[in-house]
Amino acid sequence: MFSVIQFPGSLDDRDMRFALDGVLKASAQLVWHKETQLPADTRGVVLPGGFSYGDYLRCGAMAKYSPVMAAVKRFADAGGPVLGVCNGFQVLCEAGLLPGALLRNRNLHFGCAFVHLRVERARAPFTSRAIVGQVLRIPIKNGEGAYYAASDELARIEANGQVVLRYCDANGVVDEASNPNGSLANIAGVSNPRGNVLGLMPHPEHAVEPGIGGTDGRVLLGSLIDAVRGAERAR
């Protein structure tokens, strides 16, 4: 069972549940942010996109104080898979579950567009269905999506292999022209050192149906479902 956390101001919460549940046939439930415990059958947690608390302060800065976040942290510490998408990524950075921060886009505008992503790591629980170098087409939509980390931290992230996805062009070339928002090293997705917490600026839940965004998002969400099902079988 997936728990999709619903903060006030979450916007892609239902879309994430629909992608997991309605399209990919894994079970998923919305969990209100005021809960202090995750439902007992939770095997994976997703923090969805949106503008939690309006993001009037720094993005995600308020949501990290929501009661449910302590439970999410315990779940992550125990090795459970936690995915944060867009605002969820920002919340995970604010909560200290992921390194770095998301800054205002380079051109200072909100940007909604389909971008290409090169898979840098192919492993459970988020990219086991991919191969390294594979190019995915998934949309971004954010105003503060420029990934930033101090240079020593960035070096550690790279050395540890925590960069999971980078912005690239249709042919997989990672360069300045294919960087949509000014993210350092074209980073679109980054994990914690252990690899069980992932933050993504792109929205895989908006790329699961042919005709509405395509199906490349299934590579990421499908990997996560495989991992959760594996964990459920192992119990």
Partner: protein, 756 residues
């Protein structure tokens, strides 16, 4: 009823409130006494042009508002149309012009917030927005600032509230130099048996206030700001602009929809223009009841607010609802869970009066009906503009023929009116809620329909908004007919059947007979076209006083049409999907250059009669497009409009949703029979035409013949160039797509000095 600190109410104060002498006399007659200060405030907003439609209602009555599928027409918060499966499409377009000129970001943002509330008030989840925008020349720093601010405002609100902005239009003309237009459209989906109306029924039922607290913002925003023209002092009106809070709106949407899923609600109304006053009067008036309100119970943002301020504040994100007696706690629990204000502020009464208490005294006691329903109706003088004949005069023989077709095409594509609008729509979340099948950049947007519980259906709704204001200036009736025809044609291009329309009628001051003539003509045109195309008018809004120091905008009756696709997956796109398809031109090209972009941009002339519209042909064209798409004979369909056939072909080749991903486009080689002047053939804007592609042209031509639509095969897609040639001779133009794309994509950003 007179409070010591209130100003003395007399005719002079009434005039300051924008009331006429006759209106003030009528108020005294209704009350049988001098009104109190808050009462004067109530009459002034309720009888303002913005709230009462006093100058327009005699013309609006002629609009066809009924149809087989119409569930609720004008008069409710939004129109509702039956789309089958027990579901309704609920939609409306509304202006926020004046506030957006004074404070572009907040003005546009609250425009989006207001239209969303109109839709979810009906019990519908808002799913898709469109925006129709008009600015002055983009070369002017003021209009660069206004464009950037308005787009940021629409984005900041729509993106943060989780409703996709899926399309729209933006035009630039000096007539909007002192008055920009910001028209916001929203569409929501409701279950038909769960539609809610603004009703205050059931004597003794509680009147409950929910949402944000009331502050001193936006007082007289609607009545003064939107009901008078601008002059040099307009910036002093800044405090009348409201401030939006999309986060609260998002919580309010969820809380209201949660509450409406129960059966505790009797009626609900958003507090928009004139806030608490308008909403309570409308609810009581529509039910023939009265309301007793206690202003002390109203959640207040600041201390010391007077009854006048509390009643007229236009603080955003507030709703008034009537619940069943005894269900108050249930209502309160839902709103508290979302951290929203909730307070019982009154009761429904049976005496048809609005009685308002404050600090234990009665500050307002007036009969509901004369204020709400029997508001004044004016028959303003009407006179055709003296220079109309001059405007319409065009001697084509004296217009130098085009001698550089490729240069003309590039110049047109490089203009902000015809160039790519990606700079704008990239700033909007086009995807949230996961239903967007055709994103901005095509003719119509297409959204898949879900049930309110999130279950997807096979149905899709196509949405488009249009208006050629230059045509409306040259001939308001013909221009309005063309606006309806174009919006419907855009929807039909996706394969959808046009269902109904909503309109936003933007005009100058109704106090000038020439403007009222434009209004009368335009509404006649909309009525005529809506009737012929079977697209009833289910909602709308009138925005007068779009003029500054006596200079009015072109009449701009913006029309948004909603169409239904039975199977959303079976649709046509606007751009050429691949090489090797036949290009088929549907409809007839006549020698019509009057009012065209080519004439305006290349010859500096805005004159002549706009192209004729054959409504019977348009109707047949709808049939052909629906059948052609359903039978997969049509792969793509793009309406020929501003810039004519050459621009339409270029757009088919270079546009498309993926143009931002380095898509190089799909070229075409076109050959056209030529019996008129070549510039009219390439750049004339004859209506009723569509550029379609097909993998089976013979069957498409046969189908067109059966349905009585003129159709001709004019070429084939493929290659990286667009060439357009006569049947026997050298091409008029033969251009690399890359060159066209460079002009088209940079048209707006290069004028803003923006790399993005």
């Amino acid at each position: 009823m007179m409070r010591r600190s209130d100003p003395v109410v007399d005719l002079a104060l009434a005039r300051e409130h924008g009331l006429s002498d006759a209106e003030y006399a009528r108020i005294v007659e209704i009350l049988g006494r001098t009104p109190s200060f808050p009462e004067l405030g109530i009459f002034s907003v309720m009888w303002s042009e913005h709230c009462s439609y006093k100058s327009s209602k005699r013309y609006l009555r002629q609009l066809p508002t009924r149809g087989e599928r119409v569930l609720h027409g004008p008069g409710e918060n939004a129109g509702a149309v039956d789309i089958g499966d027990g579901l309704a499409a609920v939609f409306k377009i509304e202006s926020h012009n004046h506030p957006s000129f004074i404070a572009p970001k907040q003005g546009a943002a609250t425009g989006v917030g207001g239209i969303l509330r109109d839709v979810f008030t009906m019990g519908a989840r808002p799913v898709a927005s469109l925006d129709s925008l008009r600015f002055g020349p983009l070369e002017q720093p003021l209009h660069q600032y206004l464009l950037a601010g308005v787009v940021e405002g629409i984005g900041s609100y729509g993106n943060a509230v989780g409703v996709a902005t899926v399309g729209g239009e933006a035009q630039f003309h000096r007539c909007y130099g002192g008055n920009i237009l910001v028209n916001a459209f929203n569409l929501g989906i409701a279950e038909i048996d769960k539609i809610f109306l603004a009703r205050a029924a059931g004597v003794g039922n509680p009147v409950i206030y929910v949402g944000s607290k009331t502050g001193r913002d936006g007082i007289h925003g609607a009545s003064l700001l939107a009901s008078a023209e601008f002059d040099e002092s307009s910036e002093a009106k800044l405090p009348t602009v409201q401030v939006g809070d999309p986060f609260t709106e998002k919580c309010l949407i969820e809380a209201c929809l949660e509450l409406m899923a129960s059966d505790a609600v009797v009626g609900i109304q958003d507090m928009g223009a004139a806030g608490l006053t308008c909403s309570s009067f409308e609810m009581a008036s529509s039910s023939g009841t009265g309301i007793a309100l206690d202003l002390d119970a109203v959640p207040q943002r600041e201390a010391g607010m007077t009854p006048y301020e509390l009643l007229l504040s236009e603080s955003q994100e507030r709703m008034l609802l009537v619940a069943k007696a005894g269900r108050e706690d249930e209502v309160a629990a839902i709103f508290r869970r979302w951290d929203l204000e909730v307070a019982v502020v009154g009761r429904v009464t049976d005496d048809g009066r609005m009685r308002i208490q404050w600090h234990g005294e009665t500050v307002v006691d007036i009969p509901v009906d004369p204020v709400a329903r029997s508001s004044p109706e004016l028959d303003r003088p009407v006179r055709a503009p003296a220079d109309l004949g001059e405007r319409q005069k065009l001697d084509l023989a004296s217009v130098a023929p085009e001698d550089d077709f490729a240069g003309a095409l590039c110049a047109l594509l490089d203009s902000p009116n015809l160039g790519s609008k990606e700079w704008i729509y990239r700033q909007y979340d086009q995807l949230v809620q996961g239903n967007t099948a055709i994103r901005p950049g095509g003719d119509a947007a297409l959204v898949r329909v879900r049930r309110p519980d999130g279950t997807p259906t096979r149905k899709g709704l196509a949405l488009a908004v249009d208006c050629n204001a230059r045509w409306c200036w040259l001939d308001p009736r013909a221009g309005a007919i063309a606006a309806v025809a174009e919006a419907a044609r855009n929807v039909a291009c996706s394969g959808a059947r046009p269902l109904a329309l909503t309109n936003c009628l933007n005009f100058g001051s109704p106090e000038r007979p020439e403007i009222m003539w434009e209004f009368a003509e335009a509404t006649r045109g909309i009525a005529q076209a809506a009737l012929a195309l079977d697209t009833p008018v289910v909602s709308g809004n009138v925005s007068f006083y779009n003029e500054t120091s006596g200079s009015a905008i072109f009449p701009t009756p913006t029309v948004a049409v909603v169409g239904l696709l039975e199977d959303w997956q079976r649709h046509a796109v606007a751009h050429f999907p691949e090489a090797g398809l036949a290009v088929v031109l549907l409809g007839e090209t006549r020698e019509e250059l009057g009012g065209s972009e080519w004439l305006a941009q290349r010859r500096g002339l805005e004159a002549g009669l706009p192209p004729a519209v054959d409504l019977a042909h348009e109707k047949r064209l709808h049939e052909l497009l629906a059948a052609g798409v359903a039978r997969a004979l049509i792969r793509s369909a793009h309406d020929v409009s501003d810039g004519g056939l050459a621009v339409a072909l270029a757009e088919c080749a270079i546009a498309g949703p993926d143009s931002t991903e380095g898509r190089r486009g799909v070229g075409a080689a076109i050959r056209l029979p030529c019996t008129i002047r070549p510039d009219a053939l390439l750049f004339g804007e004859s209506t009723g035409r569509v550029v379609a592609t097909s993998g089976d042209a013979a069957s498409l031509l046969e189908l067109a013949k059966q349905l009585g639509v003129r159709a001709q095969r004019i070429g084939e897609t493929g290659g990286a160039r667009l060439s357009i040639a006569p049947l026997d001779g050298e091409p008029w133009l033969d251009v690399e797509l890359e060159q066209l794309q460079a002009c088209w994509r940079r048209a707006i950003p290069r004028r803003l000095g923006d790399a993005g």
